[in-house]
């Protein structure tokens, strides 16, 4: 019993002053079950509800060519129920599901290799017949129904490059429901309605990427920016990969990554810690630890020269500039955060020059994309139709040169540091927001970065900004994307 729960530490809530600015110091309780499940707890009793989150540490960085999108596909399948949920009779269902899988494999084999259309059609019909039988055993949407009927809100999930998150917000007295349903999903998930859901995911890809004016542009730019690192994989998956997902592949995904030792449970809201720990142990504590998940070992090689990419299509013209920067933990990222603030916003250097003064762009901005393995700095400009992208590119480069050669003014530095305080406070506007932040940073490294990052940004000096600008804003470290509207630009 003593070993089951290891209390690591508890922070006390406090405000402390740094450079005359008050920064929130987050109070979080951190626990780890003996099977490796990490629990983060944040108390906020304004509303009698609890934002509940599960973060599985797996996403598209764990994928490779041929199986891109499998993490996201699995996220969809987690809504299809378990051996106990969304099903009337599991024993019968399991038999039919096995049969369905075999019938589909047979149909696909015939479709790929046979020229006998009757044989193919018959195989398809047989598959549909069994599918229709199996559907009779399904209680559709039961998971959703149980949550919403118990006051569950925002029940959903999302997948990113490094994580897959499942979440809801429950009334404080219904917390046990979250533990019941989510531990059941972890133990007993069933790949039900797999074939129709694969088509749903294909529709999602069409909707979000193929029929969005910038969807394919950014997908390609990303794959070009990263040469080796799996950050280059689109989280949704390439269409040919989605079309060829198999249940076997998904079972492997489940077995490898859906383990308590690869899971972070986050609660934010009004709850009693003792009760939560009891529930965690009762529901998740009995699930045995799995094998350690495979590490992402691929390192992005140093870029050897500038990369460029131009797309001409009917869309708002834009230019994007990406630079490789180090992964989380490197101190240079704090200075890059200051640079983001200096360049961004209506009062930032880029907007003032390119929108207000030169009237070349409709919007501009910069982002310090802090990531776990290797990060990026992104500058984007949305151009007016007649604007020559090369002119804007030169202005962007000249602004980066200024950062290298001329120290920031005191005023600029203070303005940016103020915004860091504000951003930190805004993250705590809702318990959902804080729960997501805690889980995100814990997957990245540790939730403590919520406190560390703004504090370290406060310490950044004008000199370090210049030094970092010189180090990363180089030609050979640059990838440039240009999206030109049909018939416009030079």
């Amino acid at each position: 019993m003593v070993k089951n729960i290891i209390l690591l530490f508890v922070f006390l809530i406090a405000f402390f002053s740094v450079s005359n600015a008050k920064i929130l110091d987050v109070k979080v309780e951190e626990h780890t079950l003996s099977n490796g499940l990490k629990i983060l707890l944040y108390h906020d009793s304004y509303s009698p509800t609890v934002a509940c989150r599960l973060f599985y540490k797996t996403g598209s960085v764990n994928e490779y060519p041929g199986v891109s999108g499998v993490s996201h596909m699995f996220e969809h399948m987690m809504f299809k129920g378990t051996k106990k949920i969304c099903v009337r009779d599991w024993d019968k269902d399991s038999v039919l599901l096995d049969s369905l899988e075999k019938l589909f494999i047979k149909y696909k084999m015939l479709k790929d290799s046979s020229s006998d259309s009757v044989l193919i059609e018959n195989a398809f019909k047989k598959f549909k017949e069994v599918e229709s039988e199996e559907k009779k055993l399904i209680v559709k949407g039961e998971l959703w129904k149980i949550y919403t009927q118990n006051g569950g809100m925002h029940f959903n999930a999302f997948t990113t490059d490094i994580l897959t998150a499942y979440f809801t917000t429950l009334p404080k007295n219904k917390l046990e429901l979250f533990f019941w349903l989510e531990s059941d999903r972890l133990k007993n998930a069933v790949l039900r309605e797999f074939y129709s859901e694969r088509m749903v995911v294909a529709e999602e890809r069409r909707l979000r990427y193929e029929n969005s004016p910038t969807g394919r542009y950014f997908e390609t730019l990303n794959a070009m920016f990263y040469e080796a690192h799996p950050y280059r994989n689109p989280t949704i998956g390439w269409m040919s990969d989605i079309d060829n997902f198999t249940k076997k592949l998904l079972r492997e995904k489940f077995k490898t990554y859906y383990q308590p030792n690869n899971l972070i449970l986050v609660l934010a809201g009004d709850f009693d810690t003792k009760n939560v720990l009891r529930l965690a142990k009762e529901y998740f504590g009995r699930i045995p630890r799995g094998a350690p998940v495979p590490e992402v070992t691929i390192k992005e090689p140093v870029q050897v020269g500038e990369k460029r990419f131009t797309v001409i299509k009917k869309a708002s013209p834009r230019i994007d500039m990406f630079f490789h920067t180090p992964g989380l933990g490197d101190r240079d990222l704090y200075a890059l955060d200051i640079i983001e603030g200096v360049l961004s916003g209506r009062n930032g250097r880029l907007y003032k020059r390119l929108v207000k003064k030169m009237d070349l762009c409709t919007d501009v901005g910069a982002g310090n994309g802090v990531q776990k393995y290797t990060s990026y700095f992104h500058i984007q400009a949305e151009l007016k139709d007649k604007t020559d992208p090369h002119v804007v590119e030169n202005v962007l480069l000249s602004e980066l040169e200024k950062l290298k050669n001329k120290p920031l003014s005191d005023y600029e530095l203070e303005r940016v540091k103020n915004s860091v305080v504000s951003r930190t406070v805004n993250r705590f506007r809702s318990t959902e927001g804080i729960a997501t932040q805690l889980g995100f940073w814990e997957v990245m490294s540790t939730w403590k970065y919520i406190n560390i990052f703004p504090r370290e940004v406060e310490k950044v000096t004008k000199e370090s900004v210049m030094s970092v600008a010189k180090k990363y804003f180089t030609q050979s470290n640059r990838t440039v994307g240009v999206l030109m509207s049909k018939g416009e630009g030079k």
């Binding site: 209390l7 906020d44 046990e176 029929n211 529901y283 916003g345 951003r423």
Partner: protein, 485 residues
């Protein structure tokens, strides 16, 4: 010290160790008693010296101040020939300078204080908002009141805003989702202002004089209400608000005349907007009810069962889950208080599935009109809807804004208290009655955006054709802006 604590905790845990795994299904879980008490609007409602209504929610958990003003106006009141006037007025209030500050000075101050300050316009309301760290409360209120009460609408900034609008108009039809939204509004509402979008010509016509006139006519103290929340003492905040807004002259509210809407729709008309994409983006709708209406709740619950209830809705179960044809499908009953709302269904599907997907929607629609919903469906929907009520009051800002908006719509103060009772009282026959009264598949205006050839070719497995749903009127996306239905 550390070890002792760990052991003590483990003993406590052991005491609580009832076997939760005994529950075979979550429906068996016994939850601790807890009665949720809705916040009472009267506890937060105040009036300034001149009668302006303010909802104030004090909360010191974060060092911030949030203030939102709701203004009774909207783009529906702008003249058609000046479409875009209301939106530009709102944007220019933020960017066009004030009596005390130029637009650029305003930008500088707002960014230096890391505040968020803005003004926006919808079809039937406008809002101005400020979010700022507590320590800058007075400066923030000064900026907020300058923007709301003393805008200067600089000609130079008007030119900037107009250029911005031109760029937006040039590219608004690049995205099929926007094409559907623009196209549906135009083809469904026709000349009614709710369907009128800004065009190059209308933006060109807008002058500073028009903006000043629109502002003076609409942004009047008697049209304003406020929602304030954050880290302050309520009495002090009231005093500050009275100093700024409480002495403004408040006249009698003039009720704006709502334009007339000719709701007659050509029966079974299908508009097809040609665009080179690999999905069909579909929306179909017809006029519904204007609130307040005694039938609204029955229709709302019916819609939850039909297509509004997420993964449990009939449309999602059939078209997404069974057939795998869509990522997103849902139906809506717009709760409009100013003109009749719309019942609509929207979805996207790969081109060749478009006719079959519409057919499935039509079949489901017919089914819910012809046959009463089941008691189980009704019970489930009622429970889900009533249990979600606390979600509207999650944060102090939610509380202040939800009550403020509710009063803006003209609801009584006990609206949320009686909401659950009204939902719970509904019967299967109530829902069947409103289904037959308000849902009319033959009156749906169907708008499809997609590649025509790919859509009409069908999926090769089902016999449905797009022409099954009415005469198809084809419009090329490049001609959509000039098209007059």
């Amino acid at each position: 010290m550390y070890c002792k604590k760990a052991i003590l905790l483990s003993v406590l845990l052991f005491c609580f160790n009832v076997s939760s795994q005994q529950y075979k299904h979550p429906s068996e879980i016994k939850y601790p008693d807890f009665e949720y008490k809705l916040p009472n609007p009267s506890d937060y409602r105040y009036t300034l010296n001149n009668g302006i209504v303010v909802y104030i929610v004090e909360d010191s958990s974060l060092p911030v101040l949030d203030i939102t003003a709701l203004i009774k106006t909207g783009s529906i009141y702008e003249p058609r020939c000046l479409a875009g006037l209301a939106g530009i007025t709102a944007r220019l209030m933020r960017t066009g300078g004030t009596v005390k500050y130029s637009g650029d000075e305003m930008d500088e101050k707002v960014e230096f204080l890391a505040a968020q300050l803005g003004c926006s316009m919808s079809i039937n309301s406008a809002s101005a908002s400020l979010s700022i760290l507590k320590k800058y409360t007075d400066t923030g209120l000064d900026l907020f009141s300058e923007m709301l009460l003393y805008p200067k609408f600089s000609q130079k900034k008007l030119t900037v805003e107009k250029k911005r609008a031109y760029e937006y108009i040039k590219h608004r039809l690049d995205n099929p989702r926007n094409v559907l939204s623009y196209g549906f509004s135009k083809l469904y509402y026709k000349d009614f202002p709710a369907g009128v979008s800004p065009e190059m010509k209308s933006i060109k016509r807008i002058s500073r004089k028009d903006i000043v006139k629109f502002y003076k006519h609409n942004f009047r103290p008697e049209n304003m209400m406020f929602a304030v929340s954050g880290d302050f003492k309520k009495e002090e905040m009231l005093k500050k608000l009275n100093n700024i807004f409480g002495n403004l002259r408040v006249d009698k509210i003039k009720t704006e005349k709502m334009p007339k809407w000719d709701k007659k729709t050509p029966k079974g008309k299908v508009y097809f907007i040609d665009q080179d994409v690999n999905q069909a983006f579909i929306k179909m709708g017809h006029p519904c009810i204007k609130r307040p209406s005694k039938d609204y709740y029955a229709l709302s619950v019916l819609n939850y069962i039909f297509g509004g209830g997420g993964f449990t809705s009939r449309l999602t179960k059939k078209v997404r889950s069974d057939e795998g044809l869509v990522y997103d499908i849902r139906s809506y009953v717009e709760p409009n208080y100013f003109f009749p709302g719309t019942f609509s269904i929207s979805l996207q599907t790969k081109s060749k599935s478009s006719a079959y997907a519409i057919k499935l929607c039509m079949e489901e629609l017919k089914r819910i009109i012809d046959n009463p919903v089941t008691k189980q469906e009704l019970g489930d929907a009622k429970k889900s809807l009533t249990e979600s009520l606390p979600g509207m009051f999650r944060t102090p800002k939610d509380v202040a804004e939800t009550f403020c908006i509710s009063e803006y719509w003209g609801r009584s103060l006990d609206h949320f208290d009686v909401y659950s009772d009204k939902i719970k009282a509904l019967t299967v026959s109530d829902l069947h009655r409103v289904a037959r009264k308000y849902l009319h598949p033959e009156s749906l205006t169907v708008v499809i955006v997609g590649s025509y050839e790919s859509c009409v070719s069908g999926d090769g497995r089902h016999s449905s054709k797009l022409s099954d749903f009415g005469k198809i009127v084809r419009i090329d996306v490049s001609k959509l802006e000039e098209y007059h239905p």
